[in-house]
């Protein structure tokens, strides 16, 4: 045996080496690989049709349409008559050469898109002649179609899945379609359905040789669900028309359900701009417009001081905290002095001098002195200012202000309702009711969005509760059951205190600032507001034209609609916001409006000149003159 040792030895050693190598390959390297991700398995998707979107009355808002992409496989291209081909596709010859090269750079033997989303007529012509052009074929795609040119901000749009999303998702692959904005984004899962998967066996030539494991892993596509929105598209369209030439937002809510009836932002755009061949051009134009910001939803994202409408809430808190009652009165002498220094004085334009003002009149006449007085009473009710302030702050927040409301749209702003901590963190010195007195009249630190204010209005209309606003009424004809939208949220102000405030709001449209916007037969309750606003130009605070604001609900008994209207730089609440509100209410409740002259005036009113002016640097800044600084 001695002489055969060498061979036996080699056999054994090499046996060990080979088994070791197998161990390395199969256990260390390959042990946990997923068989489905193998190169030998190709997954093919079956995309279900995306769900349609309707408005609350069943009007079709979003549908699907076929679009035709011209595809190219560079390896097979054989075009005899390039000129004819180009004219069919409406491209130049240089374009043609450029596109072919681009496709070749991508892959010579794989299809890539040559011309995207061909117009229907072009497609018809091309289809007849396509057999002449080898290497090209047409691929059908489903794209969105918007029969009504409205509510772009609500509906959103769909977009191709980009690399980043695809990487972080276990569902999407690059180039698939995904809701990117608005309802399309929020209800992406419902709308898209679930794509079906087919696992196919593939050989070394990338050829399909059959189904992988007889379809063991295959799944069927699940159709997308149709959505019915709470939007009333007639009202939405009407509101958008009224807002032409203006910037701002209108939010209308049905108080008894929390359903959003209209969500208007101005300026907006035609949703059809985000589909079709010009999509990328349009998209750049819309998103690049930093001056008009058409893609910015002012109804949800616009943050404004609420102004006078906020006084109602302060009044209610005063009643709830029992620092005042219905008969409590304040005498106003053109304003309210909250300190000894000359400038520590808040002016008032209520026009009632020296006579006692009670809460009802204070609201309808918007008396600053009255609310400054009760604000101090609320805050100073407790010995510790911070306790009093937090109680006030929590009351305000119970109206849905100062935080995300939890509605079903993907964008929003918190706004700001300060609490004691907010001031303690920021002020080195002591602070109190007087230093925050602007909060009494809805200015100062307080920031709200139109939808928050509309919701708070609904809470007032409901006498102390609201449903979280929402945009989707039903999915596949089944009403939403999400308890977030079906269980009312109570305000911390009791129902018994609301009637007096509602009476006062009713007076606003009878005798107060809204009396010019009365609608025959409809008892509108509302409150106008005029909010000062500033901007910084070259580091200096510059006062701009006031925002015009109004909150309202109607009718007074059994309210059907509550809304908040913000018109940027619109001036007095009574001049723009009030007529727009009354027109909206009339349109919604009566279906039409009789006050044609007001309607016409509002439709034609444009604030563009004011907006343009803001873009220019005021003379005073250039000459270094003293600026008009906050007059309390």
């Amino acid at each position: 045996m001695k002489r055969s040792f060498l061979l036996l030895f080699l056999i054994t050693i090499i046996g060990f080496i080979y088994i070791g190598r197998l161990f390395q390959l199969q256990i260390l390297r390959g042990g946990n690989s997923n068989p489905i991700q193998s190169a030998a398995v190709k997954i093919e998707y079956d995309y279900p049709e995306r769900g349609y979107i309707y408005d609350r009355n069943g009007k079709l808002l979003v549908a699907n349409q076929l679009s035709y992409d011209v595809m190219i496989i560079p390896k097979e291209v054989k075009v005899i008559d390039t000129l004819q081909f180009c004219s069919l596709l409406k491209i130049t010859k240089e374009d043609f050469i450029h596109k072919v090269k681009k496709a070749e750079n991508y892959a010579r033997w794989l299809p890539s898109v040559f011309v995207k989303q061909l117009a229907k007529d072009d497609f018809a012509f091309l289809q007849e002649k396509l057999h002449k052009f080898k290497g090209f074929y047409i691929q059908k795609r489903i794209i969105r179609n918007y029969p009504i040119k409205s509510a772009a901000n609500v509906l959103g749009y769909i977009s191709e899945v980009n690399e980043r999303v695809a990487k972080n998702s276990d569902y999407y692959e690059q180039g698939e379609l995904i809701g990117w904005w608005g309802v399309e984004k929020q209800y992406e899962k419902e709308l898209r359905g679930i794509k079906g998967k087919k696992h196919l066996k593939r050989n070394n030539l990338n050829k399909i040789t059959g189904r992988y494991k007889k379809g063991k892993y295959d799944t069927l596509a699940v159709a997308g669900k149709d959505l019915t929105l709470t939007i009333d598209v007639n009202l939405q369209e009407y509101g958008e028309k009224l807002m032409t030439g203006k910037r701002g937002g209108i939010v209308a809510i049905e108080p008894s359900t929390g359903e959003i009836l209209a969500l208007i932002t101005a300026p907006s755009y035609d949703p059809n701009m985000m589909v079709g061949r010009d999509r990328s051009v349009n998209s750049t134009r819309l998103f690049g417009d930093t001056i008009n910001n058409p893609t910015y939803d002012r109804g949800l994202q616009g943050v404004y001081s609420p102004g006078s409408p906020f006084k109602i809430i302060n009044g209610l808190i005063g009643l709830q905290e029992e620092v005042i009652d219905e008969n409590f009165s304040v005498k106003c002498y053109h304003g309210y002095r909250y300190g000894h220094r000359k400038n520590e004085f808040m002016g008032c334009h209520c026009g009632i001098v020296g006579r006692p003002i009670r809460i009802k009149k204070a609201i309808s006449k918007s008396c600053n002195s009255y609310f400054a007085t009760i604000y101090r009473k609320i805050i100073d009710k407790y010995e510790d200012t911070e306790v009093g302030f937090d109680i006030w702050s929590n009351h305000v927040k119970s109206f849905g202000l100062g935080n995300f409301l939890g509605y079903d749209l993907p964008v929003g702003q918190k706004g700001l309702i300060p609490d004691a901590k907010y001031y303690s963190d920021r002020n080195k010195y002591s602070w109190g009711a007087t230093t925050t007195i602007s909060n009494a009249i809805g200015q100062g630190e307080i920031q709200t969005t139109p939808i928050q204010l509309a919701n708070a209005t609904a809470a007032i209309a409901n006498k102390g509760f609201y449903y979280t606003p929402h945009i989707v009424k039903s999915i596949n004809k089944k009403g939403i059951l999400d308890t977030a939208y079906t269980i009312p949220k109570k305000t911390s102000v009791d129902a018994k205190y609301f009637p007096i405030a509602i009476e006062a709001m009713s007076d606003v449209f009878k005798t107060g600032t809204g009396k010019w916007s009365q609608v025959k037969g409809i008892d509108i309750c509302g409150k106008t507001g005029t909010v000062e606003n500033f901007t910084k130009i070259n580091g200096q605070k510059v006062k701009l034209q006031d925002h015009s604001i109004l909150i309202a609900f109607a009718p007074k008994d059994n309210p059907k609609i509550a809304l908040a209207v913000f018109v940027e730089n619109g001036g007095y609440g009574a001049t723009i916001a009030a007529p727009i509100t009354s027109l909206m209410i009339e349109k919604y409740l009566n279906g039409t409006t009789e006050r044609k002259h007001i309607e016409e005036r509002m439709l034609n009113l444009s604030l563009q000149e004011i907006y343009n002016k803001q873009l220019q640097i005021p003379d005073s800044l250039e000459t270094g003159k003293e600026q008009h600084i906050l007059k309390p």
């Binding site: 056999i11 199969q26 946990n32 030998a40 494991k213």
Partner: protein
């Protein structure tokens, strides 16, 4: 025992050929248009062959070894006249659509001839004359096979060195050969200049060590050392020349890729790469018989022939492929064991010869499939598709079994 192993290996081999070459559309086992159908035919036909082999007296093989050897040499030469050129090599006779590859049979007959030569009682390997005789017998078929050209199959004849070593040839030939291969690879890898310096340095150190031990060392061996310097130098310089001028580009590419000398941009290592991936994907238990998606997808070229082991790797996993390796090891052990027990020198040498041949096939083939050795196109014994190959190995093994069965009655 050997017969059992034979049938296990052949049977398992066929199952894997079936897996590697079957498609969903044709499920008929005896379909002669398919690879696995043909292989099954070959396997069935090997049974009469076995009976035929066993029918002859063991003395017959000893007596007619030279004749059989001459016949096979003739058939190899005949290829240049009547052979059929497939894939650039004239290795086949074509008999009505059935290809016969004489080089597969030549192995067995060469082994017989070597055994016959060396079993002569007068034969002493220490003599240069006898060594040369043996070399001539071994390298004549290798020479003709290289001319086909099928250098992979010719390489197999190197395995006879094990036999010669067993029968008394000093280890120095194997060591020399091994050193040459090592030098060859190192030269390719590091370049001839560095290796020239290093090897000269090593030789010089060795000589200095000799002189240090024994002052007379150089005087007796001076000329010999000059010769060594010259031979090594020429060899190293020759590597570059042979590599660039005698080797074909495809051979060069294989070495380059394996040694990492070039980045594999042209998919030269495609076979090895796919084969490794396929084996890796098997994991511990494998994907199950006929469930190997990479096998079904034909990702590994030549998977039913030279790369059949990758099918085993994918479908049977680490467990299955280790078992196959162990089976081969066991087979080789068994053959060597039986050969050593032979009292008859002829049987012993023949047994040792076939063990070496099988061993060589197995290490080169599996080494290639698992990416440890460069691509050399030789089949895996009993596994790979191909009638000639299967019959060749059957012949090889069963002549030994016949000899083995006889030994008890021998002297």
């Amino acid at each position: 025992m050997l017969i059992l192993l034979y049938f296990v290996l052949v049977g398992f081999g066929w199952m894997n050929i079936y897996a590697a070459s079957s498609t969903d559309t044709s499920q008929e086992i005896f379909d002669m248009s398919t690879k696995y159908g043909k292989q099954l035919l070959w396997i069935s036909l090997s049974i009469p062959l076995i009976i035929f082999i066993l029918f002859f007296n063991s003395k017959f093989y000893e007596r007619f070894a030279s004749l059989l050897y001459l016949i096979s040499i003739t058939s190899l030469i005949g290829l240049f006249l009547f052979g059929k050129n497939i894939n650039g090599a004239t290795s086949w006779y074509n008999f009505g659509g059935i290809g016969i590859q004489p080089s597969e049979f030549a192995k067995a007959f060469t082994a017989l001839a070597v055994a016959k030569l060396m079993s002569d009682r007068q034969y002493n390997l220490k003599l240069m004359k006898n060594q040369i005789k043996a070399f001539i017998i071994i390298f004549t078929p290798a020479f003709f096979i290289t001319l086909q050209p099928d250098p992979g199959s010719a390489l197999i004849y190197l395995s006879f060195f094990f036999v010669l070593n067993r029968e008394g040839l000093t280890l120095s030939y194997i060591i020399l050969g091994f050193l040459a291969i090592l030098l060859f690879l190192l030269t390719l890898f590091f370049g001839s200049k560095i290796i020239l310096l290093v090897s000269f340095g090593l030789i010089t150190i060795f000589i200095l060590y000799g002189i240090y031990k024994n002052k007379q060392f150089l005087r007796f061996n001076g000329l010999r050392f000059l010769f060594i310097y010259g031979a090594v130098g020429l060899f190293i310089l020759g590597v570059g020349f042979a590599y660039n001028n005698i080797f074909e580009q495809r051979h060069r590419d294989r070495f380059d890729v394996l040694l990492g000398r070039k980045v594999d941009t042209k998919n030269i290592g495609y076979n090895s790469y796919q084969s490794e991936l396929t084996i890796s994907s098997g994991g511990f238990l494998g994907k199950g018989y006929l469930q190997g998606d990479r096998t079904q997808g034909d990702f590994v070229p030549e998977q039913h022939t030279d790369y059949i082991f990758s099918t085993v790797g994918e479908e049977w996993g680490f467990l299955g492929s280790s078992v196959v390796i162990i089976l081969f090891i066991f087979l080789l052990y068994r053959i060597i064991y039986l050969a050593e027990k032979h009292t008859n020198k002829f049987g012993r040498i023949y047994g040792y010869g076939i063990a070496s041949i099988l061993f060589f096939h197995v290490i080169v083939n599996i080494g290639m499939v698992i990416g440890l050795l460069p691509t050399v196109g030789i089949p895996l014994p009993f596994f790979s598709y191909g009638g000639s190959g299967l019959w060749g190995f059957t012949l090889l093994l069963f002549i030994f079994i016949r000899l083995d069965a006889h030994k008890k009655y021998d002297w």
